[in-house]
Symmetry: C2
Subunit: 329 residues, 2 copies
Amino acid sequence: MKPAGEFELIAQLCKGLQFSRRVIVGPGDDCAVIASARAPLLLTIDSMVEEVHFDLKWLGAPVLGARALAVNLSDIAAMGGMPHTCVVNLGVRSDLPGDLPRRIYVGLKRAARAAGVDIVGGNVTSSRQLTITIALLGDAGPVILRRDAARVGDAIYVTGTLGDAALGWRILAGQMRATTSAGRFLTARYRAPVARLGAGLKLAALKRRAAAIDISDGLLQDLGHILERSETGAVVQLDALPLSPAYRAVAKDHLDFALTGGEDYELLFCLPPDLTDAQLSRHLGVAVRRIGEIRPRREGLNLRGADGRLVRPSHRGGWDQLLSQTATS
Amino acid sequence: MKPAGEFELIAQLCKGLQFSRRVIVGPGDDCAVIASARAPLLLTIDSMVEEVHFDLKWLGAPVLGARALAVNLSDIAAMGGMPHTCVVNLGVRSDLPGDLPRRIYVGLKRAARAAGVDIVGGNVTSSRQLTITIALLGDAGPVILRRDAARVGDAIYVTGTLGDAALGWRILAGQMRATTSAGRFLTARYRAPVARLGAGLKLAALKRRAAAIDISDGLLQDLGHILERSETGAVVQLDALPLSPAYRAVAKDHLDFALTGGEDYELLFCLPPDLTDAQLSRHLGVAVRRIGEIRPRREGLNLRGADGRLVRPSHRGGWDQLLSQTATS
């Protein structure tokens, strides 16, 4: 749900920046990393804009507040860090109910308390769209999970299940239908994503070389960021994608929501392939599934169907039929 | 130019927050202060929204980028700190020229380089209004210039001159007229405010108890924040207000732009009154003018005219005639 080319635009905007020695990781990862006397600091900023990222019809104000923090927490999780401090900028439409900011803060405060984050400052401005922008500060863990740390031969893993939020979003928008229980699960996955903070911390605590990113823009796009920064290719095994029962009930064999849907806020990470899914799931305290392998850059990014046939994604979206055939063939 | 009651709204929103021991100063000051192993960290966020804070007709893109940083730098200056790291969130209208973000960043990067600030991350989102939100991190100086440190008997000082930006803004909006040279000076004061970083640092280096705030919402409103947090009153000597020749040329005897205009980004600070204006100006490397005195809380905030008569401001704005009479009587 980001504007097309946002990643490229930021890269272009930040071109030519020169950094002081304090900067360990600059733009282009989930968070910036800034040296301090003890642990390096992580700093990230993210924004939720009405009509672009959410609709008040779908998200109550407290849920919106919690979600705005979760999206930032997820970036700290993807670096293996521990969030601790945030500041909040609220853009408020004048025609909204007067107690809306307070109700947004109810959810925001609750989520901050649960994550051990201090809300230390705020700013409110008039705006034509309700907008919540949060800058979040955290401490790095023993290892920093950078996007550029993947190496050929690494296994690619994801936490949880993929595509649920994309389906939930479409159900809320009336574009898809689901049974009550599947619909409840999928819309909750969109409304109230849970940042994988514990899993990120435990992954960093393994003290191994690991690359990681949180899946906010869809598996393929976010894996693409890892590949680009690590200068590698990859193959993704389509029948290994972790799908929830509700996903299967609603989307059947269509994998494109899992591949490109976005808003999952699961972790995608790459490690040498000597740990089983079961071992990693136990270590990280969350279901982990191995979905592919890091390959040499020249091979690019490929999807492998159950029959072993390789499919090369040529563009985002629009592969519905192809992928559905591949997965079921 | 902030929505009325923004300060009260933030205070209300942050009510009941409990902080970890890491937080030295939470919401309600220019920056939050967070303990780290070496110097405490300062963290602030501020946003500039099209139609609310600026109009692209009045500010070229590079000037806009520089201004968005200056507004945040000013908050670090008002704590006596040294800024070093920022992240930037850009909300972009789809109908703007495609190279506008890059041009905004030209000014932003130039301003960041000049201030020794690393731009370590960014985010871009679609938006109906062009919006620049910056979160800025800095190190605290040897003394932290808090809003709550004013004591009865302190002298009240301001740097530079007041009200220029408010006049500049009105000239750009076609609401006031000025000669070419006065207009150029006043509009530049609005377009390209200079954060008083050096003065803030040197004020902190005096290692004395000092309260400070940057004047973003107008002298009276920002002094009001000091009085509220310090639980004091004050008297402001109207004929002591530092006014530029251009201000006098355009606004004549009308003091309300200097008192309530906003967007000055000068420093307002309170110190025991044993240093002269000349001594302080030399120490801080900028013109400093003593404009009043901190008084007991029960006296509230009063303005004293040249004739010694006290005027009690009952509300923001609308005192034009009264103040002009008082100042010239």
